[in-house]
């Protein structure tokens, strides 16, 4: 009886381990995987106030509730929202977000001093900031310069049967289950949410946008 319980426990741990490994591909590249610079998802959508656009960057995915209080933004990691307003896929504007001592500081939207793989923060720009919400507390939101800001743990908004997808790609299954199982159910991420007037990110028409994490050298 006891032995079968142990065996069952081992099997469950093995299954959970397998799912975690497979799901960790959501964290896609080896160099970023498991680091504080892991981007899990990026969203950009019209706000409740339709004159505004909302950007969401999530990092450090697959946080179990028990691990969430201990997770924190890294002061060496700059999160940069890139905005291309003339369709050449080069950023014309950036919104930079970086934490210091319990607060998330936001710079921009502003033209970057340089485009591409390296960034610096223009110390002449006055940042806006919001206190980083602690796990278990109500969301702390700040408003400044027409922007709304949030930073802190949230439910991972992504949903997918990633484990089954991994089995299909790995040749272990040929079809999705119905119903499927949300691999990200019950897990959290660290989120940065910023809402800005559309007028400050291009005004009208289409923009191209992407998010980057950059590590201090």
């Amino acid at each position: 009886m006891k032995k079968s319980k142990i065996l069952l426990g081992t099997v469950i741990i093995a299954i959970v381990g397998l799912i975690t490994v497979v799901a960790a591909d959501h964290i896609d590249a080896p160099a970023a995987k498991g680091t504080t610079a892991d981007i899990t998802d990026f969203y950009a959508f019209q706000g409740e106030n339709t004159s505004n656009l909302v950007f969401v960057a999530n990092v450090q995915g697959l946080l179990a509730p028990t691990a969430t209080a201990g997770a924190s933004f890294d002061e060496n990691v700059l999160v940069e929202f890139n905005i291309d307003t003339n369709n050449d896929n080069v950023e014309d504007l950036v919104i930079q977000a970086i934490p210091r001592d319990g607060k998330m500081y936001f710079f921009g939207p502003v033209a970057p001093s340089t485009t591409g793989l390296t960034s610096s923060i223009n110390s002449l720009i006055l940042p806006s900031s919001v206190a980083i919400t602690k796990y278990g507390s109500n969301a702390v939101v700040a408003e400044a310069n027409g922007m709304k800001m949030f930073a802190g743990p949230r439910d991972d908004p992504f949903f997918m049967d990633f484990a089954r997808y991994g089995e299909i790609i790995g040749g272990k299954a040929t079809a999705f289950n119905n119903p499927g199982t949300d691999t990200f159910k019950g897990t959290n991420v660290l989120s940065i949410v910023v809402e800005v007037p559309k007028a400050r990110v291009g005004g009208k028409g289409k923009i191209n946008t992407w998010v980057e994490t950059k590590v201090k050298q």
Binding site: D41, A44, S120, Y135, V141, D155, P157, D161, V193, V211
Partner: protein, 190 residues
């Protein structure tokens, strides 16, 4: 005389000590904000969901992350096309298209530049069934994976009559918590 020498020397030394310590104190008492100096180097990037995960070969995933979007198409489109045909062999047939009317080259030409296209003029969604709204943003509730699966595996009539119905929907269509209608929009953590 000697006494005066000692007196003045001592006075000078003490004065200089005071001056030095004063100037040091002046520096320390300046209202210094947080230090944002330094150079920050690219580690990870993302535009559309799951693009690196699905279309980039394992040995290129890091390289993709440090290639600026304006250079991604030239560097990676052919790899995307090869990998798409590996996933969904129908795309290798001449004239085969997805539900957006794109053949393998056109579809991977779109995807290889990993940016999110966003409309500033109205509805923002990855895909909602209305052609004009396609790739006008990514909203929290968008079932982006099913959309991508339809475009990869569904064929020309993927939206209504998929060529591979059991591969065109992961049958997870909504988040495990309701989103908020107001800022910050994402649900509270578990």
């Amino acid at each position: 005389m000697k006494f005066n020498f000692i007196k003045y020397t001592t006075a000078i030394v003490i004065t200089s000590l005071i001056l030095v310590s004063c100037s040091k104190k002046d520096n320390d008492s300046e209202p210094l904000g947080p230090d944002f100096s330094g150079t920050y180097m690219q580690k990870d990037q993302m535009g559309r969901p799951a693009v690196n995960t699905v279309f980039v070969s394992a040995n290129k995933k890091d390289e993709f992350n440090v290639t600026v979007p304006s250079q991604q198409n030239a560097k990676f489109q052919s790899m995307f096309e090869t990998n798409l045909k590996g996933l969904s062999p129908a795309f290798a047939n001449p004239g085969d298209k997805n539900a957006l009317g794109q053949d393998a080259a056109a579809f991977t030409g779109l995807l290889a530049t990993d940016v999110l296209n966003v409309s500033l003029d109205g509805k923002t969604t990855f895909f909602d069934g209305v052609a004009a709204n396609t790739l006008s943003g990514r909203a929290l509730a968008d079932d982006v994976i099913t959309v991508e699966l339809i475009l990869i595996f569904g064929g020309e009539d993927g939206l209504t009559n998929s060529e591979n119905p059991t591969l065109s929907d992961d049958n997870v269509s909504a988040n495990d918590k309701d989103f908020l209608t107001s800022f910050p929009y994402l649900a509270s953590p578990w």
